[in-house]
């Protein structure tokens, strides 16, 4: 990390001091609010992605937000939260490229306020509620630096009515393997065929390493989830997804998998327009897309073909109760 912007208000926060100490050569720049840098106009996401700065900030306002209607894994009350904005990975299909002007990473250091908010929200419901981490970032990728997930799990241990999903592509699982698993937490991996990982999910761990991390976590007692999302169109779609499912399910104790979901490729139109300007050479973004209800997606027939094929394949491996189609969009 070359450049660290720090909000003046939290400059003396112990977490800020800890994070800054990891980067002794970084330029530290004090700012008033993270939005001054992060939301400023005239930024280039693609260029910043090659050398992103870190912005340490305090989160104000709502720390926990309701998920879109179909974004769930069986729970009735579903929320998401983002201790971080932006992702260390560079997946060509990711909506963050179109949503944010900046590729800099924002880390909110007032973790306890997230946990307080989650606690209050969960107490508001009589039934169990779900909290999804990894919506605007990868939950685990910067864990060695932030320690957020460790703190988060500590907090969820005290909230049995609240369930946590940690969504990730990262294999930084040391902190999870060094503690006992807790019952109200699912570690969910986003998975794609190996060829798509190599071509489109830049800077991510290989499929093999993700499967290996899943095995270790499952063996350690963690509940695991599999997220085949988004489904990417290809002429050899059936073959690559067939291989993906086989490799994943052969490696895991299928009966113990908490949940499996699939999701179609969809992007809000303004995000898509920004993304094709940033990456005109991307073959993934250059494919035929249809505009439906303000969203760019594959045509309905292609989308159905992809979803139907994957559901057929999943039927061979998992029970229906483990399956949650996720057709929600960012």
């Amino acid at each position: 990390m070359d450049t660290i912007y720090i909000e003046r208000e939290i400059a003396n926060h112990t977490r800020v001091e800890g994070i800054v100490a990891r980067f002794p050569k970084a330029r530290c720049i004090h700012i008033e609010r993270y939005t001054d840098v992060f939301n400023a106009p005239h930024q280039n996401f693609r260029v910043q992605k090659a050398n992103p700065a870190l912005i340490l900030a305090k989160k104000y306002g709502k720390h926990v937000l309701p998920t879109p209607p179909d974004y769930h894994i069986g729970g009735k009350h579903n929320y998401y939260f983002s201790h971080m904005l932006n992702c260390v990975y560079d997946c060509r299909y990711c909506f963050l490229q179109g949503m944010y002007r900046s590729a800099n990473y924002v880390v909110f250091v007032n973790y306890d306020e997230f946990f307080d908010s989650i606690k209050k929200t969960s107490e508001h419901h009589e039934e169990p509620s779900w909290y999804f981490s990894g919506y605007d970032c990868d939950s685990l990728a910067l864990e060695p630096m932030t320690g957020f997930i460790s703190s988060c799990i500590d907090a969820f241990e005290t909230m049995p009515k609240a369930n946590l999903e940690i969504r990730t592509k990262s294999t930084q699982v040391r902190s999870l393997l060094s503690r006992p698993a807790i019952d109200n937490c699912v570690i969910a991996y986003s998975l794609s065929p190996s060829g798509i990982v190599k071509s489109e999910e830049h800077k991510t761990a290989s499929l093999e390493k993700r499967i290996s991390a899943l095995k270790s976590l499952q063996h350690h007692g963690w509940k695991i989830g599999l997220r085949f999302d988004p489904l990417i169109k290809a002429d050899n779609f059936e073959s690559i997804y067939h291989d993906l499912f086989k490799n994943v399910f052969d490696a895991l104790d299928v009966a113990k998998i908490h949940s499996v979901s699939i999701g179609p490729f969809r992007l809000p139109r303004p995000f898509y327009k920004r993304m094709i300007r940033l990456y005109p050479e991307s073959s993934l973004l250059a494919q035929d897309m249809n505009l439906r209800d303000g969203m760019l997606s594959y045509d309905t027939q292609t989308e159905s073909t992809l979803l139907n094929y994957c559901e057929e394949q999943l039927d061979k491996y998992i029970a229906r109760k483990q399956y949650f189609p996720c057709v929600s969009v960012p």
Partner: protein
């Protein structure tokens, strides 16, 4: 045509850079411009309004310019000759602030960064964290009409502080200060990440040639560009000029490309 334009306010700031980059004066009725093989130089004059107008005019005349590097002297409570990068540019009069995206730390020896405050009149309220100049905010306003803040950088050399005030600045002293920063200027120019910008020049070239033969409306030109970019992304190369000209009309050309794209195959490795 070079892609980077160095901007200085004073002739004494320009002189060592013109010499180092072996630049030659460009004939222009109003702008003081120099061109070399690596970069251009604009000597914009003193003050943010003058600087803004000159930078805007230069970018209008030379759309191939993709980055602006402002090099000049500034005041701060730092030793004379200290070289600093601006991590922010603040216009004192308007209160507006911009944050240039700084280059990787391993590509420049400039470790000291400051808030660069653009003032309308020379200021001597020196501090270590801020430097004063009279052009940066004007340059930023103009540059940001066409460029992103990864491509607008400010390198300042401290010329005055509380011990040696602004009256101590001389022409030769300024030349010496800029000469002392030449390596840093070169490093900064080299660190500008032009290679990360997507290139669509081949598509633009093919469109410019095609529209000389076939009439395209503005909407059709826009469609044509998107189709050609998709064509290249999916099929690996662009269609030849001859193939496109054979289509005779704009509609037929667009149909031809759309059909080719609908048949394009995308495969991923197993």
């Amino acid at each position: 045509m070079t892609s980077i334009c160095i901007v200085t306010a004073l002739p004494a700031e320009a002189k060592p850079l013109v010499a180092y980059y072996r630049m030659r004066a460009v004939q222009h009725p109003y702008l003081k411009l120099y061109e070399g093989s690596e970069c251009m130089l604009l000597q914009c004059g003193v003050g943010k309004l003058t600087a803004s107008a000159a930078v805007a005019a230069t970018l209008q005349c030379y759309p191939a310019i993709k980055a602006i590097v402002n090099v000049g002297i500034a005041g701060a409570e730092l030793p004379i000759g200290t070289k600093v990068l601006a991590h922010s540019v603040h216009d004192k009069a308007s209160g507006q602030t911009w944050y240039p995206h700084l280059p990787p730390i391993n590509q420049t020896k400039l470790t000291k960064t400051v808030e660069l405050i653009t003032v309308d009149q020379p200021d001597s309220d020196y501090t270590e964290q801020c430097a004063f100049d009279m052009e940066a905010s004007g340059i930023t306003v103009a540059a940001c009409k066409t460029l992103d803040l990864s491509f607008v950088q400010f390198l300042k050399i401290i010329s005055d502080n509380s011990e040696q005030g602004i009256k101590g600045i001389t022409k030769q002293g300024t030349i010496n200060l800029i000469e002392s920063a030449i390596t840093d200027v070169q490093d900064l120019v080299n660190a500008i990440p032009l290679q990360l910008l997507p290139s669509t020049s081949d598509v633009d070239t093919i469109i410019n040639l095609l529209v000389q033969k076939i009439h395209f409306s503005q909407t059709q030109r826009h469609t044509l560009k998107r189709l050609l970019l998709r064509y290249k992304a999916l099929l690996g190369d662009l269609p030849t000029q001859e193939t496109l000209q054979q289509q005779k009309t704009a509609d037929l050309t667009i149909d031809y490309l759309a059909t080719a794209l609908s048949n394009a195959k995308v495969r991923y490795l197993a």
